[in-house]
Structures are given as C-alpha cells and as structure tokens.
Amino acid sequence: MTITDYERVPTVSTEQNAVLAEKLKRLWETEPGIAGFFSTVDHKEIGIRYIITAFAFLIAGGLEAALMRWQLAWPGRHALTPEQYDQLFSTHGMTMIFLYAGPVLSGFSNYLWPLLLGARDMALPRLNALSYWIYLCAGIFLYAAFAFGFGPNDGWFNYVPLAARAYNAGPNIDFYALGMILLGISTTVGSINFVVTFLRMRAPGMSINRVPILIWGTLTASAANIFAIPAVSLAFFLLWMDRNVGTHFFDVTTGGSAMLWQHLFWMFGHPWVYAIVLPAMGMVSDGLPVFVRRPLVGYTVVALATVATMVLGFGVWVHHMFATGLPSVSLSFFSAASLIIAVPSSVGVFAWIATIWTGRPVFTTAFMFFASVIVLFVIGGVSGFMTGSVPVDWQLTDTYFIVAHIHYVLIGINVFPVVGATYFWFPKFTGRMMDERLGRWNFWTMFIGFNIGFFPMHISGLLGMPRRVYTYADGMGWDWLNLITSIGSYIFAIGVLLFLINVWKSYRKGSLAGDNPWDAPSLEWATTSPPPPYNFVVIPTVASRHPLWEDRLQQHEGEGSHVDAGLVLDHGREAIGTSSLDATPDIILRMPRDSYAPVILALTATTIFIGLAFHLWWLAALGALATGVDIIGWLWPERALGETKEPAING
C-alpha cells in the first residue's frame, strides 16, 4: 500500500458483492481462540463484554441488596453486624452506580454506535479495548478488596472525615479510592472515543440532525464525563494522599475542609446521574417509535432537551448539600436550578406520550418495558422535584425517601430501558429472538415487584426512617413498610432472574431473527444479525432520519438513502471519515489491527494501583515503567496506518 492510497477516491459499488464481503471478512475478522480474545478491537465484541460484565456486577449488587433487605425485613434484627451491613450498602452503591449503570450503557453504545452510524468501528478501536480492560481490572480490583473484607464502608459517596485515616484506619477506603481512580481512566478514554466517533465516523449524509437519539444521549453523557470525572478522580486522589502520604486536604484540624470533598464529589456525582440515564432515555426514544409505527414526536426538541438537561445538570450539585449550612442565597440558586431542570426532562415524557398516542402500539415485551419507563421516570422525577425545594428537602434528605428516589431513577430510567433494549436489540446481537411469552412474565414480575418494593420507601422516608441504618427499633411505624419493601424487592429479583433465564434460553434456541425482525428504521437493521466483523459491505449513504422507512415516509432528501450501494473501502481495514456537522466524506481512515497493547496497558496500569494499595512502591514503579513502554509500543508509528511516509514506488 502506498501513501497515495489514502488520497484515492474510493469506488462506488452498486450491488451486493460476495467477493468483496469475503475480502472484508478476511481483513476485519478477529483471530479465533485465546489470541483473538485478548487482542480484539471489534466494537461488537467489546460491547457484548461490557454488557455481560455489567450484568455480572448487577447480579452481585443485587445479592448484596437481598442480604440487606433480609436484615431490614423486621425491626431489631442482627443477622448482619453493623460493619457487614455498612460494607454491603457501600459496595451495593458502588457496584450499581459505577460498575453497572454506567458500563452497561457503554456496552450498548459500543455495540450499537458504529451500526447506528453506518460505520465500520469506533474511531479509536484500541482505546475502546483499553476502556473495557481497565473497567474489568478496576471492577476486579474493587471486588477483590471486598472479598477480603476490605470493601468500601463509608457509603458510595464516602464523606470525609469519616473516610479519613483517623476514623477509618483499615485499608478499605484506600482500595475504594484507588479503584475509583482506575475506573475513571476507563470512563474517560471511553467518553473521548464516543465524542470523536460522533464527530468523525458518521456515514456520508448522516448530518447531526439525522442521528438517532441514543447517539445524542451517549454523546452528551460522554462530553459530561470528560468534565465530571476529573473532579471525582482528584477528590479520591487527594483523599488517598491524606490517608497515605500525610497531606491535609480534608483534615479540618490542620486547615483542611470537609466541604471540599462534598463539592468535588457532587460536581461529579450529579452530572454522572444524568450520564447514566440520558443514553437509556435515548434507547426509549429510539425504541418506542419502532413499536408504535411512527417517527418520534419532536426529534429536534428531544435532542436539544437532552443537551440542555446535561448542561443544567452541572449546575445542581449543591442540592445534595442543602443541609450543610450553606448561605441561603446559594440555596435559593441551586433550589431554583434543581426545579427548573425538570423542564427539559419533561420534554422526553411528553414526546413519548405523544408518540404512543398518535401511533398504534405493537404489544411486544420491548414496547412494554419502554412504555413503563415513562411512568417510572415520572415517579422518580417528581420525587426529585420535591427534594429540589430546599425546605422540603431538609425533611426528606438522608431518609428512605431519597433511597426510593434514587432507585426509581436508577432502576426506572436505567434498568427498565436496558432490559427493554435487550429485548429490542438481542436479535441483532445474536441473530435470535427472545421469548415473548417468558418476556411478559418477566415484565410484569419486574414491574409489579419493583413498585411493591420501592414505592413504600417513599412513605417510610416521610415517616422519618433514616437511610443507612443497619437496623431500626420497632414501634416507629416502619415495620410493615419494611416488610413490604423486602417482599417486593424479592419479587423484583425473581423478575430479573426470569430475564436472565430468557436471555440464556433464547441465546441457545430462540427463533431466527433475520436482518430486521421489527421492521425498524435505523441502519443497524440493514446488516445481518449478528453483523459481520466489518458491519457493512459498502458504506451506507444516508438521506433521512429513517433510512429503512423511506419507502413509506417520503421524507428523505434527493434520491434517498442507500444501504446496498455505497463506497467500497477494501484496501486494508479502512473507514470513511466525514465532516463534523454535515457528514460529507473527506478522508479515508486507516483502522488499526487487533492488538495486545490495550490489555497489556490495562494490566500494567492496574499493577501501579496494586503497588500503591499495598505500599509496594517498587511494584508501582515497575508498573509505571511497563506502562510507559507499552504506550511507546502502542504509539510506535505504523506504516500500515499511514503513520510513516513511504516512497510511492512499490504500489
């Protein structure tokens, strides 16, 4: 290959070409077996791994919750010691918020983005692999500590001074701090990858007003992460230094500040909440229209509202700190902001209702999950609205009302959309349909169990039950509510189990799906199920928001979208780079081959953190050195990627 190769004008194929497909398969296929397992950079492989890993953590977090609900089912129980209970609720929070809710959406987005965008892969495939491996390493790092009894024990938001050495002498918080910094690297590189992919990898013609809402959701979440993660990584790093090196950032006895932690944590924490729901809301916005047979109402408003929610999401962190004695002027500002953020959030709700109202529903399990999200979202939303009002929040904060709120948000707007999305995209992932009959049982068990379990928590909170108590006295009026909550949460757990059974059963012998089982409009349905390693034989050309519904909608521009005819890119692993707004093709991009560099980098980086955790400074130094060597190897210019010049004689 020569340098001139990148400047060529790619040919356009107008017919499905078996020879071309075979050639592309050879170029893009991951080596089978163990070698391919560790070296693959295929976004589909990485996406599936993300989803499976995240679900494994969901199950772990669920089991932790089951133990806690066993303890709280009746007053005054001591099945768990306070220390065990504290580690359980802290690890449960850490698991669900950091190791499940974010990564599972990264998984779906990783798998779906290039397919939705008509691309061959993510913009930075090796970085994508790195992001997954570091996530896995950080998860194992945190859970290994938990397995040895050193799980976090000061709650997921880990307030100082309780988390300082003076009040928590064990290594628990050191593992938590280091694990979170490591995980932050994964989230950051993953987010950068999504932003670059959005700007560069859309199929020709897919201008930014034609991308699916899921893309908007993940894009805004990723952009937010890039700004939010540094705050929390810094906070954990300062805390680790306080605990291990003797600094005094959070030590009030020597001029440090306890409030600094809360500000840094929530400057990250609140945007993160939006980052783990906006992509899921995108799934609903893209999934519902397929099952009510009409385009989403108000695409532009919904896309803009997604961005607006995220921007406002950076201005509300203080609403977690209304009781900390801040001046009432700041309280007024953040209270108003916290209430006003409901305006863009409500756009999605009305858009979804209008879409169903004016369409005709197809009663699939996926539809039921997506439709139920609207109600759960509103319940989680209005409880947030109530806590946005400062004087009311002074009563509600740190009670079970907040526990109810966070679960309606995280389960209602993350788990329910994700399960719906699995029913929706499972045929694409595996080529097989999920069982609809079992799906009904799955939906109703989850929906009823969830509401029985979590709605009464609002009431226990209003009756004054504080959160994070390992037991409670009887006669407080909380007994029955807690018993109902425990029973409901077990019903919900059975619902999740039915889901897992359905996935397993359908994966093994579900009926065949074909390319487009739902007769859906977007590009991922234009290729086979599961898609080939190269996604599309020719690069699709896009002329509307609904390329596969154009024959029926008549809304496209010019002669319409093409999925069977388009640019041929077969001189190696190639993709097309397009302009940021209008997606006009302007460059042929060389995509990297499979590589061991990401998995090695993840391991060497983790070695640094293990060294720091055990104060084995030589190990940390060794890890840093190996990381440096690996980065040099990774960045070494490659001729095949056009990174070195070559005289054009051997073309």
Binding site: E83, Y159, D398, R467, A513
Partner: protein, 312 residues
C-alpha cells in the same frame, strides 16, 4: 407531615403542596400513558421480519409545547413558593433568647446550654429541653465526623460538620417529647444515634435548668459511696458528674442521669436493668460503640448503679 412548631408550620403546607402536585402529576401521566396505549386496538406482535405499516404522521408536537408549558408554570410557581418559605424559615420572627450548642459525637449528642455568664453554662446528653412558645437557637458542631441534627416534628435537618459551626433554630408550640435522630451516615452506630427533644412550659423549663445547674445530692449510704468510688476509678476518665472528681469529657455528662428517659443515645430505656446491661457489655448493645467494656465485677457494677440512681 404535621408540624409542632413555627418552623415546621411554615414548611408543612409546602411539603403537602409539592406532594399533592407530585401525586397529581403521577396520576395524570399514568392516565395519559394508559390512554395512549389502549385508546385504540394495538397491533399484535408479528412474525420476525414482517413488514408493518408505518404512519407518515408528523403531528403531536403540540403535546410537547402544552405539556412542557404547563410543567414550567407549575415549576415556576413552586420555585416562588419555595423562596417565600425559605425566607420565612431562615431566621425566626423574634430573636432567640436561648442558645444551645449541640455537638455530634460518634455516637451520641452532647448538649450544652450557653450563656454569657459562665456559671449558667452546663452540659447534658442526648436529651434537649427547650421552653415552648419561643424560638431556640442551635449551634451545631461535629466533634469527629459529620452528623446531622434532625427533630422531624419541629423542623428540617442541619448538618454538624467538623471545622464549622452551623446554626439552626426550632420552636415548639406545646410541651411534649419529640424524637430526633442523626441522619448523616457517621459510622458503625449511625443507626443508634437518637435523641429526644423535650419541650416544656417556660416555668418548667426554668425549674429544670436551675436544677441542672446544681450538683446532684451526695450519696446517703455506704453502698452508694462505694459506687461513687468505683465510678471515679472506672468511669471518670470519660464521664463527668458535677460536684465530684469525675470530669471526663469523652462521653456524656452524667450529672443528672436519672432525669433522662433513655441511655446510650436512645438505644435503651433508662432503668436499672438496662443500665446494668449497658455497663456490663456496651458492645453487645451497640457493637462498635466507643465505650469500652469496663473491667467490673457484678458487685462493683451493682454499687455503681446504686450510685447512678442517686443522680437526680
């Protein structure tokens, strides 16, 4: 959801207001979703891959404008209402005459009545007496980690944070017992860090206060004197009793212990059996509590309890 004081009275209507708005929103949206789904026959799921008609409609946008418009009005209304209530509860209508300093410790509350006259200052623990009908100022301090002070019936929470002094105020209309609880997770025994607020008529309060300022009566029999000696030996490095050599400040001041309703921050009723249970094995009652298990024989324990029973 019902208030028993000025501050709570100002917030209760707002709490009900936003609750009713919230319930109404949930009902309306649920009805709309149900209506949207079932207003006409749906389409039964089709075999995979079959073509299903797609509607060309582009209408429905007015839903968003109307829905978001109404939501915005309600939200603006709530913002204004919130601001009005916030302004009302930020400081009391009259200047508080009484200031109480509350210090959150792992896992109990130190209650100190402040005064410009040092002879009028005294400490107690876990039970706060206030006079009815007048606002009381509370200064909140975190001795070790962050705690949060909350008497639900009288007002919202304020954190007690190390390194800063937060202020809040409460008022109670009628005499009574009001339960409170730490609401910021503060470690192993966060669950058992309760408190009681006892509102009394101003006369009763003045009498209580005068009594608190006195030293408890001296022991009257030999058993009690032995108990005092044991108390000084085993307990005084952490606990104080007015008028004795016991002046420890790590644990609650026990000067008038018998006047309290509960012990161990609301964990146990204050009666001789439970006192014995608590002294015999604090870790059994409150695992992780900072009170060590004292090395005491049953006789020594009994003598200490007979002494503690004199602390009226």
């Amino acid at each position: 959801m019902t208030g028993a004081g000025d501050k709570a009275d100002a917030v209760v209507p707002l709490t009900w207001g936003v609750t009713i708005i919230s319930i109404a929103v949930i009902l309306i949206i649920s009805l709309l979703v149900a209506g949207a789904i079932w207003r006409r026959p749906g389409i039964a799921p089709q075999p995979a891959g079959s073509k299903i008609a797609v509607d060309e409609k582009t209408d429905g946008l007015s839903w968003i404008w109307i829905g978001v418009g109404i939501s915005s009005l309600v939200l603006l209304f709530t913002v204004v209402w919130t601001m009005v209530v916030l302004a009302k509860v930020t400081s009391p209508a009259t200047k508080p005459a009484l200031t109480v300093e509350i210090t959150g410790h792992q896992w109990w509350w130190q209650v100190r009545y402040l005064s410009n006259d040092p002879s009028q200052v005294f400490s107690t623990a876990n039970e706060i007496h206030i006079p009815t009908g007048q606002p009381v100022l509370f200064k909140l301090i975190g001795a070790d980690v962050i705690h949060s002070f909350w008497i639900p019936a009288l007002g919202g929470k304020t954190d007690a944070i190390p390194g800063q002094t937060n202020e809040t105020w409460l008022e109670a209309h009628t005499p009574g017992l009001y339960r409170g609880q730490c609401t910021e997770y503060c470690g192993l025994q966060h669950a058992k860090m309760g408190m009681l607020l006892i509102a009394q008529t101003p006369q009763d309060f003045a009498a209580w206060r005068a009594h608190q300022l006195q030293s408890p009566a001296r022991p009257t029999d030999g058993g009690q004197w032995a108990g005092l000696a044991n108390f000084i030996t085993h307990c005084s490095s952490c606990h104080a009793v007015r008028g004795t050599d016991a002046a420890g400040s790590l644990g609650p001041d026990l000067s008038h212990l018998m006047q309290r309703h509960t012990i161990a921050a609301g964990s146990l009723p204050n009666d001789p059996q439970d006192l014995d249970r608590w002294i015999a094995d604090p870790q059994g009652v409150k695992p992780g509590a900072l009170m060590p298990k004292p090395e005491l024989s049953a006789n020594e324990r009994a003598s200490i309890i007979s002494y503690l029973k004199t602390l009226n």
